[in-house]
């Protein structure tokens, strides 16, 4: 319940964040647009004013009393008619006012002439008139019948600003509507996108140790949530595998522990049912001790495995030659091969070395060679080969001429307590943990272990380890 609330909360938070970011961006956008619009209007106005000065220049004439006036048809010009708000001022370079139009209402437009005013350019500038109006002024230097005249033409900024403000307020009024629509759309889209998450959460709540086989629904393989679901399902798969393995291990272990206990108990109880001779009692006790020894070995192996599982084992690393280790192992178990008239052939370079805990790795090789001897027939050959693989690994392979291992059992034989049909009889001895201990011993050194069919029909076990560089 709490989880689904959280997912709703996330939706709301996402929408709010989006709404905020969108509003800020929109305001920024409106501001920039208004400013650009304003600049453009100003530029247009100056451009128009410049064109008009040229028109005005053509209409200027000198009156007989030496003043300057404009021909009347200027005001009849159709475009000009629309711009009767223009302000003119004409003055001579010494500052004498020659002409002022009525729009100026007697105020002066920009005061005395500036040095070089209107000579090089149109001198675009903004001027505040004495009556408070703000106007945009262009100046032009003109020779009328050889007489120098400075022509100033200005227009009021107010209508232009009003137009800009209208533009701005329209945009601003539309903004909340835009934001609301966008937020609504985003809320819908996020809800849609997050609904698989709610489904996943609901499903995940149902998954318990007893229902580890449940998986999260994957709506779309390609999107992020689908990816997350697949990753999570992978995790569940691994959990389920280890859980099953643990269950199997526990049931196997209890089987393996109970069997010798059952023997112990039966042997003891049966022998106490009737009186027996001393010799018979000795026999019974010896038989019980054999079972105890088997139990002890099993418990020792189980302890070693559980210590390995919990990572309590510290590795004492050293560098050594693989061949050296093999010689050592063969010097111990070789006698078993001799007893079965088997030949152990060792091939490979002494040079190939690894860095590992010698004692632990020795255990792995010992178990493999011991198995090879155990399952190979008499008078056969066991080949132990050390070589360097193309991908720079040290590989030890142990090839026997035994019955081989069926393909479907090739990975399972490394499971704890797994026994092949041939190995199932206890006559062969062992705890059923040898190969799983070997597997652990190799993997703890970042190596790999496996088995493949040998050419001659037996099995070829291999151990691959990083070379000692």
């Amino acid at each position: 319940m709490q989880l689904s609330f959280r997912s709703g909360n996330l939706r709301l938070r996402l929408t709010l964040w989006y709404g905020m970011a969108f509003s800020i961006l929109l305001l920024l956008h409106i501001g920039v647009a208004t400013y650009v619009h304003y600049r453009q209007l100003i530029a247009q106005a100056f451009h128009a004013a410049n064109e008009e000065t040229e028109t005005v220049e053509g209409l200027m004439y000198q009156t007989s009393d030496g003043r300057v006036s404009l021909k009347e048809d200027y005001f009849n010009h159709p475009e000009i008619r629309l711009r009767l708000d223009r302000l003119f001022e004409m003055l001579s370079p010494d500052g004498t006012i020659l002409y002022r139009n009525s729009q100026l209402r007697g105020t002066e437009l920009g005061g005395p002439p500036l040095p070089g005013e209107g000579v090089t350019s149109y001198n675009e500038r903004t001027v505040r008139l004495s009556d408070g109006r703000k106007v945009l002024v262009v100046s032009h230097f003109h020779l009328l019948n050889g007489r120098p005249i400075i022509l100033r033409l200005a227009f009021d900024e107010a209508p232009l600003l009003a137009s800009v403000m209208r533009f701005f307020s329209v945009l601003l009024l539309l903004a909340p509507i835009t934001v609301m629509v966008a937020v609504a759309v985003v809320y819908r889209v996020t809800s849609g996108a997050l609904s698989p998450l709610s489904n996943m959460v609901r499903r995940a709540e149902r998954i318990t140790a007893e229902r580890l086989s449940e998986r999260l629904p994957v709506h779309d393989e390609t999107d992020d949530l689908g990816h997350a679901a697949r990753v999570f399902n992978g995790l569940l798969q691994r959990l389920e595998d280890s859980f099953c393995q643990l269950k199997r291990f526990t049931s196997d272990a209890s089987h393996e522990l109970r069997t010798p206990l059952a023997s112990l108990r039966s042997i003891g109880e049966v022998s106490l049912q009737k009186g027996h001779s001393n010799e018979e009692y000795r026999e019974v006790i010896a038989s019980m001790l054999e079972e105890v020894r088997r139990l002890t070995q099993l418990v020792d192996s189980l302890l070693a495995i559980s210590r390995a599982d919990s990572g309590q084992m510290t590795l004492h690393l050293s560098s050594f030659s693989c061949m050296d280790l093999i010689h050592e192992v063969v010097s111990v178990v070789g006698i078993l091969a001799e007893d079965k008239h088997q030949v152990i052939r060792m091939v490979g370079s002494e040079e190939i070395a690894v860095r590992a805990d010698r004692g632990i790795l020795r255990q792995a090789i010992l178990n493999l060679v011991d198995n090879a001897i155990k399952y190979s027939p008499e008078h056969s050959e066991i080949l132990i080969e050390v070589r360097k693989t193309p991908d720079e690994l040290a590989e030890v392979s142990i090839v026997d001429q035994g019955p081989g291992i069926p393909v479907d059992e090739q990975t399972r034989i490394f499971d704890r307590f797994y026994r092949t049909d041939q190995g199932r009889s206890r006559g062969q001895g062992g705890t059923g943990l040898g190969l799983s201990i070997a597997k652990w011993a190799v993997e703890v050194h970042s190596g790999s272990i496996g088995v493949q069919p040998a050419e001659c029909g037996g099995s070829s076990f291999f151990v691959r380890l990083p070379l000692n560089a």
Binding site: R282, E283, I285, A286, S287, M288, L289, E290, V292, R293, T296, Q297, D300, S301, L303, A304, R307, Q312, T314, S331, V332, V333, I335, L336, D339, G359, I360, Q363, L366, D370, G429, G430, T431, I437
Partner: protein, 225 residues
């Protein structure tokens, strides 16, 4: 020789007591650490067998107190904990040796003997049992004057059995002391059985008097019967 057994598992304690008494030692049982410390006040044993996981008071704390009081008596720890760290902890507390449960009784006897004679051990140059003679320096062995052709491992095995002649040695002892295998879970039982059978073929088969005997359920013994 007086041995004090400090062990709260009474079945084990009395079994050890009986076993040690049968070997000619005077053995006493203390079922708790407090009992043991009270016992020390009256008399000092020649050797202490001390269980680490005592129910009330930890064996190691008993050992530390014992050592703090200045007792030099050798102490053999008996424990179900066999990690390297536990071993170091025990030896640091002042133990002289360490034996992991479940142990073979012959092994306990061997450790007890080793601790008791720690002061005076003279390496022997030759070993003899009946007409079997071993020259340890020259690594030769002969029976009834006939030289025995032994492999190196067979010689080591025979030497170990000879050093313990008359006493049963367990497979665990052979695994550790002759094959020098340190991993407790490594089982070399098959190897040992085959090796013993071979040794027997060489030292016993050609002769009427058999010396190397298998004690079923425990191990092997070299003795004249």
């Amino acid at each position: 020789m007086q041995i004090l057994i400090v062990e709260d598992e009474s079945k084990l304690a009395y079994a050890l007591q009986q076993g040690l008494q049968e070997e000619g030692y005077a053995a006493t049982v203390a079922l708790s650490g407090e009992d043991a410390l009270r016992w020390f006040e009256r008399t000092t044993p020649d050797l202490v067998l001390l269980d680490v996981m005592l129910s009330k008071r930890n064996g190691l704390s008993v050992l530390r107190e014992f050592r703090r009081d200045g007792f030099q008596t050798p102490v053999l720890l008996l424990t179900a904990l066999d990690s390297v760290e536990d071993r170091v902890l025990g030896l640091d507390a002042g133990a002289d040796d360490y034996l992991v449960k479940p142990f073979a009784f012959p092994e306990l006897l061997a450790r007890v003997r080793a601790l008791l004679r720690r002061t005076a051990t003279t390496p022997q140059a030759t070993l003899d049992l009946a007409d079997l003679h071993m020259n340890l320096a020259g690594r030769t062995a002969a029976r009834d004057g006939v030289a025995l052709e032994l492999t190196s491992r067979e010689f080591d095995l025979l030497e170990y059995l000879m050093l313990n002649r008359g006493r049963v040695v367990s497979r665990e002892m052979l695994t550790r002391d002759v094959w020098k295998e340190t991993m407790r879970y490594t089982s070399l039982d098959n190897v040992i059985d085959v090796q013993v059978a071979r040794l027997r073929r060489k030292i016993d088969d050609p002769f009427d008097v058999k010396l190397l005997h298998t004690v079923r359920g425990i191990g092997f013994v070299l003795r004249e019967e």
